[in-house]
């Protein structure tokens, strides 16, 4: 078997690439892979001496293939050949193959015992699969069909089709036989291609459900086909990993995001209080507390490291937990014989109270963190380390019923144990709700004070807004099956444009709060809303211009070639920003929100606009200003923006009824407007969506809201988008399209579903006049 050497500027890059490639083949078959990368583990650079040593280490009589990144890697590798024995150098091949794709192809091919020439040829073809998929490479070379031999047809049953790992299994298997095997994707009429070539099999792009035809000739043709049949029966060696929500069928995509909106299971009630009644103080309370604090600190560090997007939240909780002064004071009380539980609870309750009394909205929200830290330590002290107060049946995922959902709880929720979350408080835009949604956890908010017996089976359907105790489980299962089917179909066709039956094309984009959202989405035609206040939400200090450019670049890189719509800082109301402390307001939703917050202190906005101008030079960018009311505000914002770089489109959000009504006077110098339906709804209906007593009045499908949408579409004179929750609801999306909205921006898991629903819709059949004249939101829904 040949050996493989990986030369790179970066040790981390090379090691990761080797890790990725090694996954493709079993331990026993793996060729020797030696890394010569970086001057040390953290310093970028290449070292010809290290390369020569790596070649010597990987050397075998069959030869060595060297994969490289660029620049000095090439020079150092060439120089390394001068350092080694000329006899060894004869059997070393430096290849221009792409590092990652080439390495994977090389490792797989080498593992079958292929010659250096064959492995090098496979590595060089490493880009073929990607080029075929993206349609930007040279046409794949046709392979002579096997004509006289035998054939076999199998269906791809793998969740994700014949992706790299199962393809590698197939290729590895085929190459162990003395036979020439070709494969054709009958559904797409791709092929035949060489089934012994990973890169060629990859070009088929065979997805789940496709029929593959194998043909083989040669002495072992029959045995080869029999082995392929066996491999296909076991999903080409793919273990279908359980994904969230395990109970509801595997969700499409690797990044969570079920989009099912429906779940059932035994109710787990979390009061937010830990039961400490059974706790008995011992001799050494100080040591007990220390152990509990250390255990919690370890948990928090793990959570912090596991989710960079949320690191700020856990970092802040760690700081609260390990405050030295506070721990010292607690210990002083404990040595006098107090109970660790009592003291810890008292100290943290007081601390939470102090936070709650602060005027600054961000500081007030920290009380939630204080309580979260309090409870984690109390659970360790009392031995109830579960996140919930009752035991759950092991094989039945539960529904967590909580008074409120904070971001940390949402981020930590164990997807294996919980099928969904029902939140008593109303409000669809809190940070916890956003985090849960972005993880694709089925969620319903605003169930209110309904009496839920612990352990009772409950079900909810967020699309219908229903929450049931002891529901007809069969019916719920049927709904779930329907949604799963709908979702699979939607995901398969996610990349197709959303063209309605009557021929209207609606652009469907994604709302982005973290880079993960942009990475996870399928089928989005860009981002219609980048929530900058969330992108940097975990930070205590304002990001620099360069940091913002970097973050925008990362979002754009996840949506290559597609426009992203950067919304300037949207602060105030329910969205505090730690680096922009706001004064206490009696009516924050009617106060210094969005653009208004920067009229007195424009510095942060100016930095952000500078970042927008810089990134606009690299990628297609739109920028929009939130919470605009008057033409003067538009003029002021445009003045702050200054000269627009080519291609930068500028818009405003329409959330204030006054702005909706006089939109024609606002858009003279704008390229687009985007309606924020959440805020528009709460202002039009005069309803605090976070107050469960009245939240039901804040219905996005209220005809009063839709009349304003209609008015904006007719009078804006520029393209109109919707980026509020309404755009994520497939049913509402059809109404919005019928009203003439050009662009919808939805949360990542909903994008394929919204597109699928639009493709099924015939807008001519929607009686918009009746929708606008309806009595209430329920009547609108009944009309569909």
């Amino acid at each position: 078997m040949i050996g493989i050497v990986v030369v790179s500027h970066s040790h981390a890059l090379a090691t990761a690439a080797v890790g990725l490639a090694s996954e493709m083949v079993a331990d026993g078959n793996r060729p020797a892979i030696v890394v010569a990368a970086g001057l040390d583990e953290t310093t970028f650079g290449t070292d010809a001496v290290a390369v020569s040593e790596a070649i010597a280490a990987a050397d075998s009589a069959d030869g060595v293939l060297v994969l490289l990144d660029l620049g000095s890697a090439v020079l150092s590798a060439e120089l390394a050949l001068e350092f080694i024995d000329s006899e060894v150098a004869q059997r070393v091949r430096l290849t221009s193959a792409p590092l990652v794709e080439g390495l994977i192809a090389a490792v797989v091919t080498a593992s079958t015992g292929a010659s250096l020439d064959a492995v090098a040829a496979e590595a060089e073809r490493g880009l073929a699969g990607k080029q075929e998929h993206l349609g930007d490479g040279p046409a794949a070379e046709p392979v002579a069909a096997v004509e006289s031999g035998q054939s076999l047809e199998v269906v791809v049953s793998n969740q994700h089709g014949l992706h790299a790992r199962p393809a590698a299994r197939l290729v590895g298997l085929v190459n162990t036989f003395d036979a020439r095997v070709t494969v054709t994707d009958v559904d797409t009429d791709h092929g035949p291609v060489d089934a012994g070539s990973l890169s060629m099999v990859a070009t088929l792009n065979a997805i789940r459900g496709h029929l593959l035809r194998f043909a083989a000739e040669g002495p072992e043709a029959e045995a080869a086909l029999a082995a392929i049949q066996d491999l296909a029966t076991e999903n080409f060696g793919d273990d279908e990993p359980a994904r969230f929500p395990a109970r509801l069928g595997a969700a499409e995509g690797d990044h969570g995001g079920s989009g099912l909106d429906v779940a059932f299971g035994p109710a787990v009630l979390a009061s937010g209080l830990v039961d400490v009644s059974g706790y008995v103080a011992g001799d050494n309370e100080s040591a007990r507390l220390e152990a509990a604090v250390e255990a919690v600190a370890e948990e928090l560090r793990r959570l912090r490291d596991a989710s960079p997007d949320l690191a700020g939240i856990f970092e802040a909780q760690l700081a609260l937990l390990t405050d030295r002064q506070q721990l010292k004071e607690i210990r002083e009380v404990l040595v006098r014989g107090a109970s660790a539980v009592n003291v810890w609870q008292l100290v943290f309750d007081r601390l939470a109270e102090r936070f709650e009394q602060l005027h600054d909205a961000y500081q007030r929200e920290r009380a939630q963190d204080v309580r979260a830290v309090r409870d984690r330590v109390l659970r360790h002290l009392t031995g109830t380390t579960e996140d919930s107060p009752i035991e759950i049946e092991a094989d039945q995922p539960a529904i967590l019923v909580v008074p409120e959902l904070d971001a940390a709880t949402a981020a930590m929720l164990d997807g294996q144990r919980f099928a969904g979350v029902a939140v008593r408080a109303a409000g669809a835009t809190g940070h916890g709700v956003i985090v849960a949604r972005s993880r694709g956890i089925p969620l319903i908010t605003g169930i209110g004070d309904v009496d839920v017996p612990a352990g009772a089976i409950v079900a909810f359907d967020n699309r219908k807004g229903s929450f049931e105790i002891e529901p007809d489980v069969e019916q719920v299962r049927a709904t779930i099956a329907e949604r799963v089917a709908e979702q699979e179909e939607a995901a398969t066709e996610a990349e197709l444009p959303a063209v309605t039956i009557d021929g209207r094309t609606v652009a469907v984009l994604v709302n982005v709060g973290t880079v993960q959202d942009a990475l996870a989405v399928r089928g989005a035609e860009g981002s219609g809303l980048v929530r900058t206040e969330l992108l940097f939400g975990g930070r205590r200090t304002a990001p620099t211009v360069a940091e913002q450019v970097e973050a925008f670049r990362a979002v754009a890189a996840a949506l290559p070639g597609k426009p992203i719509t950067i919304r300037t800082w949207d602060v105030g109301g329910d969205k505090p920003l730690p680096f922009l402390p706001l004064d206490h307001e009696d009516n924050p939703f009617l106060g210094e929100r969005g653009l208004r917050a920067f009229r007195r202190r424009p510095e942060l906005l100016r930095d952000q606009l500078e970042a927008v101008r810089q990134i606009a030079a690299e990628i297609p960018v739109h920028v929009m200003f939130p919470m605009v009311t008057t033409a003067d505000e538009v003029a002021w914002a445009l003045d702050e923006l200054g000269p627009r770089p080519d291609g930068l489109k500028v818009g405003i959000m329409i959330e204030v009824p006054a702005a909706a009504l006089r939109v024609a006077t606002l858009t003279a110098d704008l390229d687009f407007v985007s309606i924020g339906t959440n805020d528009l709804t709460q202002y039009v209906t005069a309803t605090d969506r976070t107050n469960p007593a009245v939240a039901a009045l804040a219905d996005g499908l209220d005809p009063a809201v839709l009349q304003l949408v209609d008015h904006v579409v007719r009078n804006a004179g520029v393209p109109v988008g919707v980026c509020g929750d309404l755009a994520s609801n497939p049913q509402a999306a059809v109404i919005l399209a019928a009203l003439g909205v050009h662009e919808l921006s939805a949360i990542a898991p909903q994008v394929p579903l919204v597109k699928a629903r639009l493709r099924q819709a015939d807008l001519r059949l929607i009686d918009t006049a009746a929708v606008l004249a309806a009595r209430d939101g329920d009547q609108v829904r009944a009309l569909l």
Partner: protein, 211 residues
């Protein structure tokens, strides 16, 4: 033998002086590299020559060729960027060419040419590609011309250093065609090449120390 160690001494002085000069100019070289490359040339050269000095502190050399070859190997391992294999190869071949020969100005000139031949074999650059060869090429020619005209080592190295500086300055209006800077295309125009700059520093140091 005493002659030999005097030569080893002056070549050692050259390497030490070069290390000092590169250290003093590290920020400048990195600044040049940040305009058209990956902003590491100064740091890389400083690290590489710093490692050479550490070797000089620990090891004594009997011959110039051993000294230069060891310096070359050290640069190969410690510089990190493309200048590692390039300068490393230069010193390796320069050293190899000087093995067992009398160190006349003409022999040293041939050695320099052999070293630069190594740079060309490695980097495949041509004059006008906006690389260190834009400094080396004219320097070799000026050196040979000076020697042919009867000049001593000092005159030849001075001429080489001056020609190198002119070559370096001439890289400013060029569009890079090799290395990381070539990704920038037209945007590389108007910036001085960092490799040609460090080459000139080495030759100016040679003119000060070797003669």
């Amino acid at each position: 033998m005493s002659n030999m160690s005097k030569e080893v001494e002056s070549f050692t002085d050259w390497l030490r002086d070069s290390a000092q000069v590169l250290h003093d100019n590290a920020a400048y070289l990195t600044e040049l590299d940040s305009a058209i490359g990956d902003a590491d040339h100064g740091a890389n050269m400083d690290r590489g020559f710093g490692a050479v000095v550490a070797v000089l502190d620990e090891t004594s050399f009997d011959t110039v060729d051993e000294l230069l070859k060891k310096a070359g190997m050290t640069l190969v391992s410690k510089v990190g960027g493309a200048s590692g294999p390039l300068y490393g190869t230069f010193f390796l071949r320069f050293g190899t060419a000087l093995a067992g020969v009398k160190l006349t100005p003409a022999a040293i000139g041939e050695g320099l040419r052999a070293g630069v031949g190594g740079i060309l074999a490695r980097g495949k650059a041509e004059i006008g590609d906006k690389t260190m060869y834009d400094a080396w090429g004219p320097a070799l020619d000026a050196y040979d011309t000076a020697v042919a005209g009867g000049g001593d080592l000092a005159a030849a190295l001075t001429a080489a250093a001056e020609a190198s500086a002119k070559g370096r300055d001439a890289t400013v209006p060029l569009e890079a065609r090799k290395g990381r800077a070539s990704y920038l295309g037209e945007r590389s125009v108007g910036h001085q090449d960092p490799g040609a700059t460090s080459t000139t520093l080495l030759l100016e140091s040679a003119a000060r120390t070797l003669a």
